[in-house]
């Protein structure tokens, strides 16, 4: 078998480590693992898992780009790039008409506007308030004793949207407990939470100017309830991704790895 020249993008986020292996512009392997406390080890583990998925070894990798908060401890990487640039490249790869990205990750939330080539034209970021983060939804899922993946489908079965005023993790948790104690249906509260988050992050998106097509990336993008609430609050249509939106940052990192390697040749 002829040797593959492969490229890796490793996105070490606060909740998940996402890794993508690419060759000749195609994704040939990927992995999503839970981020542990050893940042460097997370990257290695993610890389090994994705390589195994692609049927390759480390020797097949020509260039690695690390992104996400864990990129500062990434001795396996040839280059580090912020997740803002990587999400832009990743979303452009998945859906080339993307002009705006809503990225909801484990610990922050970003609005990114792109130019026609997938370069960042403007961005706004919320890393101060828990609204719109995976961690917030994880805490909420715990209150309802369901898994994070179940929140979205549950919210779609709601019969009404209950107002939830808090988007602070601590206060929203106590507000939710009170609503449950009052006998409200969990799905109506969950949809209320999704709507509260959408309204809160709406301001950030108007700052960068929402333009079609809108791509929703990050782990929270898999939540269908959140997606629906955002479409309603921002009065937009979010594109159907043809790849896992949680991988967008890692895909972008792999795209950058391939072009950096080609430039350097």
């Amino acid at each position: 078998m002829s040797k593959v020249t492969a490229f890796a993008g490793v996105d070490v986020g606060s909740l998940g480590t996402k890794t993508v292996i690419m060759a000749e512009g195609e994704i040939i392997g990927s992995a999503i693992i839970r981020t542990g406390i050893n940042t460097e080890e997370n990257g290695w583990n993610g890389l090994n898992a994705a390589l195994e998925n692609a049927g390759l070894t480390r020797d097949d990798l020509a260039y690695v780009v690390a992104t996400g908060y864990g990129r500062i401890s990434a001795p396996y990487a040839n280059k580090t790039v912020t997740e803002i640039t990587c999400h832009a490249k990743g979303a452009h790869y998945i859906h080339p008409q993307t002009k705006t990205i809503i990225d909801m990750g484990g610990q922050d939330c970003k609005a990114i506007r792109l130019d026609d080539d997938g370069n960042v034209a403007d961005f706004a970021m919320n890393d101060k308030c828990a609204a719109g983060t995976g961690r917030f939804l994880e805490v909420m899922a715990n209150v309802f004793k369901v898994s994070l993946d179940e929140l979205g489908p549950l919210s779609l079965s709601a019969t009404e949207v209950l107002p939830v005023s808090s988007t602070c993790t601590v206060f929203a948790e106590s507000e939710t407990v009170s609503l449950l104690a009052r006998g409200e249906k969990p799905e109506n509260i969950i949809v209320g939470i999704h709507h509260a988050i959408s309204k809160r992050v709406g301001g950030m998106f108007s700052r960068v100017g929402v333009q079609n097509d809108v791509f929703f990336s990050g782990g929270v993008a898999k939540n269908v309830g959140m997606r629906k609430a955002l479409e309603e609050a921002l009065q937009i249509k979010i594109v159907e991704p043809r790849k896992d939106p949680q991988l967008a940052g890692a895909i972008g990192a792999a795209v950058i790895a391939e072009s950096a390697w080609k430039r350097g040749r």
């Binding site: 908060y69 500062i72 790039v81 912020t82 997740e83 803002i84 640039t85 922050d108 370069n119 960042v120 034209a121 403007d122 961005f123 970021m125 890393d127």
Partner: protein, 463 residues
């Protein structure tokens, strides 16, 4: 406990060139030779101030490493001898005034005092702590912040350094700010001082006529009276009488610093790849304000020599230490805070200018005629203190001159005026020069958070 610290060492190979450079002459007429500076930086200082020699990635003030740039070493020397020099001045009976408000310091020095802004007060305090590591210094700084909140208000930005004055750990004789628009901490500090326990520290407030007064005769005259009042207040401390001629001479001296800074900036901005890194740019341009080292004459010596080195580097096409070719150029707006130059440079950018103190450094004072009137006129015309539209016009001009590709507006949490202005100013700048802008609120911390640096890095990548 073993200390695990990566320390910077000036390489012996750099000594030969450095010791042939000029002495620094101080305001009191004493001198220090380049050889003495070298000895201090390589032997005494690393033992007394290990925190300053920390070479870790998270030390945004770490030593520049541009060892072929003598002024960079001299700036480091002046910073690290702050406490020694201030104590010497105090022994000679020279009063120290704590100033805020972005003003030039000519009148304070004309009256025989030393004027120190919050950052210098903090540097003085930092030099009182010897033998501490970088991490220990950070912990102590966090404790200072907590005490500052208690001695001023929990709503202040906490860069003030005011706590040291209240506690008496820094022998400051006078609190003498101007009540200009830029700084919301001034009012908190004044109020705290009025009710504080250090009533022995003299209080003076320069009443700055606010908003668009620079062309009004009455305002200039009124402010000139304030400057006279300031000088009389300092005279009461020194027991001497400051003359018009003293002030005129001081203005001429400070104008030389301001001129040199402007000339250096023009040189520095010209090449696509600047001749020094961002830290060394900031160091030399700030010296033109004649405040940073608490000794205008010493700053002037370093500026004069620095200009020659910058000229030579630009002529020979020398690239700044650690810069990539043609880095993305960022103009920094806002107040009292800057992101890590090194992190910006790692990402392929460089900070090419700031608006804050550049506003007074780039404003020359008329040298003939009534010096009080001239000083008042110059102070009231500082572009940073004007309304948003005028400030934006001047900033846009600096952006064009420095050939910046983008604007980063940073302000401290609790900095009420700058936070209120940020969006509007950036919008106006965008209209005038059409460059991308990013606004970041900085919460005071001994080291900058990864989230903050992440935004800055993304902005550099975007540019």
């Amino acid at each position: 406990m073993a200390i695990n610290q990566d320390l910077f060492h000036y390489p012996e190979a750099a000594k030969e060139l450095f010791i042939r450079t000029e002495d620094i002459t101080f305001r009191d007429g004493t001198r220090v030779s380049a050889e003495e500076i070298w000895e201090f930086l390589t032997k005494e200082a690393p033992v007394r101030f290990p925190h300053a020699f920390d070479n870790g990635r998270y030390n945004r003030n770490r030593i520049s490493g541009d060892i072929a740039l003598p002024y960079s070493l001299k700036d480091e020397y002046l910073s690290l001898t702050f406490n020694d020099r201030m104590l010497k001045a105090k022994q000679k009976g020279i009063p120290v005034a704590f100033v805020q408000g972005g003003q030039c310091v000519d009148p304070y020095y004309a009256a025989g005092a030393i004027a120190l802004r919050p950052a210098s007060v903090n540097q003085w305090a930092a030099c009182q702590r010897e033998g501490v590591t970088f991490t220990q210094a950070q912990v102590l700084r966090e404790d200072d912040k907590e005490r500052a909140s208690q001695s001023i208000s929990f709503e202040v930005c906490n860069t003030a350094g005011y706590e040291y004055i209240q506690e008496g750990s820094l022998p400051v004789d006078m609190i003498a700010p101007y009540s200009c628009l830029r700084c919301s901490d001034v009012s908190y500090s004044l109020e705290a001082h009025r009710h504080g326990k250090r009533q022995d520290v003299k209080l003076f407030l320069g009443d700055f006529p606010m908003a668009d007064q620079k062309n009004k005769e009455w305002a200039v005259e009124y402010f000139a009276e304030n400057i006279k009042r300031l000088i009389r207040s300092i005279d009461e401390l020194t027991g001497r009488e400051t003359t018009e001629e003293d002030l005129r001479k001081e203005i001429i001296l400070h104008n030389e610093g301001r001129r040199l800074s402007r000339e250096i900036a023009e040189l520095w901005w010209a090449p696509d790849t600047p001749p020094t890194n961002g830290k060394d740019r900031r160091a030399i341009l700030q010296m033109g304000g004649m405040e940073v080292h608490g000794d205008p004459e010493a700053s002037l010596c370093v500026l004069r020599e620095g200009k020659r080195f910058i000229e030579e580097r630009v002529r020979k096409g020398v690239k700044g230490h650690g810069l990539i070719d043609k880095p993305a150029r960022i103009f920094l707006c806002g107040s009292c805070v800057f992101p890590s130059d090194y992190r910006i440079e790692e990402g392929g950018g460089v900070i090419v200018g700031t608006d804050n103190h550049w506003s007074n450094i780039s404003t020359l004072v008329e040298e003939t005629g009534d010096p009080y009137y001239n000083l008042a006129k110059a102070t009231l015309s500082y572009p940073y203190e004007q309304n948003v539209y005028e400030r934006a016009k001047w900033t846009a001009e600096q952006i064009r001159k420095s050939r910046a590709d983008g604007v980063l507006f940073m302000y401290n949490w609790g900095c009420n005026t700058q936070s209120a202005m940020a969006r509007m100013l950036c919008d106006e700048i965008k209209k005038l020069v059409n460059v991308p802008t990013l606004i970041i609120e900085h919460e005071f911390q001994a080291s900058q958070s990864e989230q903050l640096l992440n935004r800055v890095s993304a902005f550099v990548e975007m540019l």
